[in-house]
């Protein structure tokens, strides 16, 4: 059994330190002469007291207890865990990008603004939209921004009764959540036996109160909405707008554009399709692209090229206003821009073609061993059902945990919600055939284990630093911080 990992607070020893301040050049003045006593903190914040090597050992040790794309295959469906190029990290750290203040005079940040305009244009081209804002910080922020634009559009046209947003049952949880936060009610649209939007159900639910339909295409089952042109027509004829959840656009680069499909608003997750690293949960970047009639409502400021150079436009009377301080997650945008420049048009198109081929190849290798809700060619990802294994007493969760023993991050499980015991696999284009084969071999072995020796799967994982964790205990008796010893005075 491995040792329990210490917390940084447990490494702490009074009197140890891991910092230096610069040599003082201004006079030292007593704190008490600068601040009235009532404003001065009475009780110290108990941050750890550790040496620099303690810091290094601690965080190095933590990193070894974490699985990233650099550690191994990470076929987490709908998350696009592709390789995060190293040069992008270097580019984001160039002093001229990393150490510029957002409120510097514009003439001193022309290169940053030029990059943003160039990236906006590239994303508009990729999505087939007319204008792009880089402000949203992440996908859900982009969804909310897009819905606020749609709301502003309808209100401007006197359509204040459009209070409903249609969301398919296979949609990400952020879709309905964003709709509610934007002040809408959500209506669920069913999927049909093909796994696609049920046109009859859509037609029954769309109407004069429809503000928008939010759609992921290819959807979360990895299937392209073949009726998309008809869907767009239905929604538009009812006066609604079509929202494209492009969190995962890894199947469409150079193959099909949301703008051409009829979408009015698109958001992209630059931390998925465009290789911004996920960072253990963020930061991301969720740019939003719109068609012409929604441009007036875009959040301020708009970055654009003027005769005098690159500039920020705040004079937008119909804008929904500011949605984020400054100009979005610029550092993530630098990484995505660096990626797009590296791949070029040809490379991006190959990305999607090879992502689709990889997914179909894995699906072909695995589909006989599992239940398959939709046996058709997929796009960049596909779903299996663990129903057959469940009948043997082995749940999808067990299969996922058993994969940990083989050194893999498991696929997404129990999502989308409309597939029982769902296993959602997204290989991405950056993985080699050998990697895909080895993973498929492991999956097939686990299927065999489920039939012959289910206990080994049911009790997995066996090789990780901790075994299955008690999530019920965590929720029932929440311990959300380290409970320190006695408080102490700082003065």
């Amino acid at each position: 059994m491995q040792h329990e990992q210490t917390l940084i607070f447990e490494v702490s020893r009074a009197g140890r330190t891991g910092y230096n301040l610069p040599t003082p050049t201004v006079p030292e003045v007593d704190l008490e002469t600068l601040l009235p006593a009532s404003m001065i903190r009475q009780e110290a914040a108990e941050l750890p007291e550790v040496s620099e090597l303690d810091v290094v050992r601690h965080y190095t040790s933590l990193s070894t207890r974490n699985h990233g794309v650099d550690s191994g295959f990470y076929p987490l469906g709908s998350c696009t865990m592709k390789y995060n190029p190293k040069v992008n990290e270097d580019m984001a750290r160039l002093p001229g990008f990393a150490h510029i203040h957002p409120l510097q005079p514009l003439e001193s940040v022309q290169g940053a603004l030029e990059m943003m305009v160039d990236l906006q244009d590239q994303l508009a081209e990729i999505t087939g939209m007319d204008e792009v804002t880089l402000q949203p910080a992440a996908g859900a922020h982009g969804e909310w921004t897009g819905l606020m634009l749609i709301k502003a559009f309808h209100h401007h046209n006197g359509d204040t009764h459009r209070t409903k947003v249609l969301v398919p049952d296979s949609a990400h949880g952020t879709n309905p959540a964003s709709a509610v936060v934007a002040g809408f009610e959500t209506v669920t649209v069913k999927s049909d036996e093909r796994g696609l939007v049920d046109l009859a159900d859509l037609k029954a639910k769309v109407g004069e109160d429809t503000a928008a339909l939010m759609l992921t295409n290819p959807n979360t089952l990895g299937l392209f909405e073949a009726d998309i042109l008809e869907i767009a027509k239905v929604v538009h004829e009812a006066g609604g707008k079509l929202y494209y959840d492009g969190a995962n656009s890894n199947a469409i680069l150079g193959i099909a554009r949301p703008g051409d499909m009829g979408f009015d608003v698109v958001h992209l997750n630059l931390h998925k399709t465009f290789t911004g690293p996920h960072g253990g949960g963020g930061p991301g970047s969720g740019p939003v692209g719109v068609k012409h009639d929604l441009i007036p409502y875009l959040p301020t400021p708009i970055v654009k090229k003027a005769d005098t150079g690159f500039t920020l436009d705040y004079d937008r009377p119909q804008s929904i206003g500011r949605i984020k301080p400054f100009y979005g997650n610029f550092g993530i945008n630098v990484r995505a821009y660096s990626y797009i420049k590296t791949m070029g048009a040809e490379g991006l198109t190959r990305v999607s073609r090879e992502a689709v081929l990889n997914a179909n190849y894995m699906f072909a290798r695995l589909k006989d061993a599992f239940d398959v809700p939709y046996d058709t060619y997929c796009k960049h990802e596909f779903v299996l059902s663990g129903k057959r294994q469940k009948a043997l007493g082995v749940r999808t969760l067990d299969i996922a945990k058993r994969l940990l023993d083989f050194g893999y991050h498991p696929p997404t499980i129990y999502f989308p919600l409309n597939v029982e015991e769902c296993i959602m696999v997204e290989p991405t284009e950056t993985e080699s055939k050998e990697t895909l084969d080895a993973f498929c071999d492991a999956m097939l072995q686990i299927v065999k284990e489920a039939e012959e020796n289910p206990e080994i799967v049911q009790t997995a994982p066996h090789t990780t630093v901790v075994k299955r964790l008690d999530e019920t205990l965590a929720a029932r008796k929440p311990v959300l911080k380290y409970e320190r010893r006695q408080p102490s005075s700082i003065n």
Binding site: Y19, L21, P24, V26, E28, L31, I40, R41, A45, L47, L62, S63, T64, R65, N66, H67, G68, V69, V87, E89, L94, A98, H99, H101, E107, S108, A112, D121, I126, A140, H141, G173, A177, G183, A226, I252, D260, H271, G281, G282, P283, G321, I323, K324, G328, N329, G331, I332, T342, M343, A345, E346, V356, L357, N360, A400, P410, T430, V466, K481
Partner: protein, 448 residues
């Protein structure tokens, strides 16, 4: 470009043939046939251009970067929510441990203990600094966190009136107003007197919350105890947006009555990066724990009784509750929370106080020097590392003149308030030297 020159794409021609054969199709096109042909015809990416080899890419990116003046080559006196602070070398080295930055959200705890524990430690450090009971594992930034706080307060109190101090960051005012358009909240701003929230005519009737910034936009330190009392007397929640570095010396919002404390951990070594990504934090008193937006990490045990960490109280979140979630937030700023944690660990209990004191001393030196040189300090009073100086001439011109002399000046306030056209918000952190400050004053003195 030759096929093998795409170094991120490992598929060989042989692989492609083998895989197509296994699938039972002739070409990739067959896999795309469910996409209407009309769409496939118009999807060209002609405007994107040709791929760039790594050396060419670095040349292109460097050329763009070099068009910007940065704070490592030009002394900067800009603050206003984004600060030029020291960033210990150890922070970047640890941040580049790629098991951290190439990982997704830790949904599989057995192979994500590193990230989960780091977030648990971040939550603890934020609670220590703010004096709050529970902190989440980060938000996009301090200002959207503040806007989310108005949502929480309104949902909790079931009231729609949001009262915001006129002395919060102007961009925070804008974001709060935009956010209010979602659930239909009504936002009102308080008057400001002497650079502080004016408490004399505060009407908090039916308010869900009172929102203040600490230190505020003008650098002044609000009397939180008095404001908290006013909020609580009216049945409103008291929401404080706070620079966490200042909390190394300032009394914590938790100790002074805050119900929600938010802010941005960017001062802990996170590069300014033209405004983002930074690192929002969100902390509350115990009673509001189940209403927090965003991800929370909790301690538990594994089957052998060994300590471990998991994402918890997820019934608040969008991926479980969908349209009933407390917020739509999904991605956060986990990697920057890690960066802030590493810096906070290196600074430690005494370092954070020393660094805060040094900021105050440096800004104090600058303020006194400006006074000696004959300039007026607007709304003078106790401050942290920022204050407002009145130059009596258009502050935009002062800023331009400073830039012509290789100095990135403070923030001219005329853009936000015409009455403050001659005012500049100046920030002097521990990185500014006496020589740089003296030079600033000399350059401004040489105008005309």
């Amino acid at each position: 470009m030759n096929r093998m020159e795409f170094r991120y794409l490992p598929m060989t021609e042989q692989d492609e043939r083998d895989m197509l054969q296994t699938i039972g199709v002739e070409s990739i096109e067959e896999l795309l046939e469910d996409i209407p042909a009309s769409l496939r015809e118009t999807a060209s990416l002609s405007a994107i251009g040709a791929p760039l080899p790594e050396v060419d890419l670095v040349r292109h990116m460097s050329k763009l970067a070099e068009k910007n003046l940065h704070t490592k080559s030009h002394p900067s006196f800009l603050g206003a929510g984004m600060y030029d602070h020291l960033s210990p070398s150890v922070m970047n080295h640890m941040l580049l441990r790629s098991e951290f930055y190439t990982a997704y959200t830790p949904y599989q705890p057995e192979i994500s203990q590193g990230e989960l524990q780091a977030m648990f430690e971040f939550q603890t450090m934020i609670c220590e600094l703010t004096g709050m009971d529970v902190a989440n594992s980060s938000m996009y930034d301090g200002i959207t966190a503040l806007a989310e706080a108005t949502y929480l307060a309104s949902a909790h109190t079931k009231k729609k009136r949001v009262i915001v101090s006129g002395a919060v960051h102007p961009e925070a005012k804008d974001v709060i107003e935009t956010y209010a358009g979602g659930p239909g909240l009504n936002v009102e701003f308080t008057p400001v007197a002497d650079g502080l929230t004016d408490v004399t005519n505060l009407d908090l009737t039916d308010a869900s919350c009172l929102v203040v910034q600490y230190p505020n936009f003008y650098g002044r330190i609000e009397d939180l105890a008095v404001l908290a009392q006013a909020a609580h007397d009216a049945g409103a929640l008291f929401v404080v947006s706070s620079n966490p570095l200042a909390l190394g010396i300032l009394e914590s919002p938790g100790a002074l009555g805050a119900d929600i404390t938010v802010g941005d951990a960017q001062p802990f070594g996170i590069p300014q990066s033209f405004g983002g990504p930074s690192c929002g934090y969100f902390a509350v008193k115990q009673a509001l724990m189940r209403k927090l937006p965003g991800r929370l990490v909790g301690q538990t045990v594994d089957e052998d009784g060994k300590r471990g960490f998991v994402l918890t109280l997820q019934a608040r979140e969008q991926h479980i509750r969908r349209d009933k979630a407390t917020s739509n937030i999904c991605s956060n700023q986990a990697l920057n929370a890690l960066a802030a944690s590493i810096t906070m660990s290196a600074l430690g209990k005494y370092g954070i106080r020393d660094m805060a004191v040094r900021n105050m001393q440096t800004a104090h030196y600058m303020k006194e020097s400006l006074k000696t040189a004959g300039y007026t300090i607007a709304d003078e009073g106790p401050m942290f590392n920022e204050f407002v100086v009145d130059f009596n001439v258009d502050a935009d011109e002062v800023s331009r003149h400073l830039l012509d002399n290789g100095i990135i000046g403070g923030l001219p306030l005329g853009t936000y308030e015409s009455a403050r056209r001659t005012h500049m918000l100046v920030c002097a952190t521990e990185l500014r030297t006496k020589e740089e400050i003296d030079r600033f004053i000399e350059v401004v003195g040489g105008m005309n």
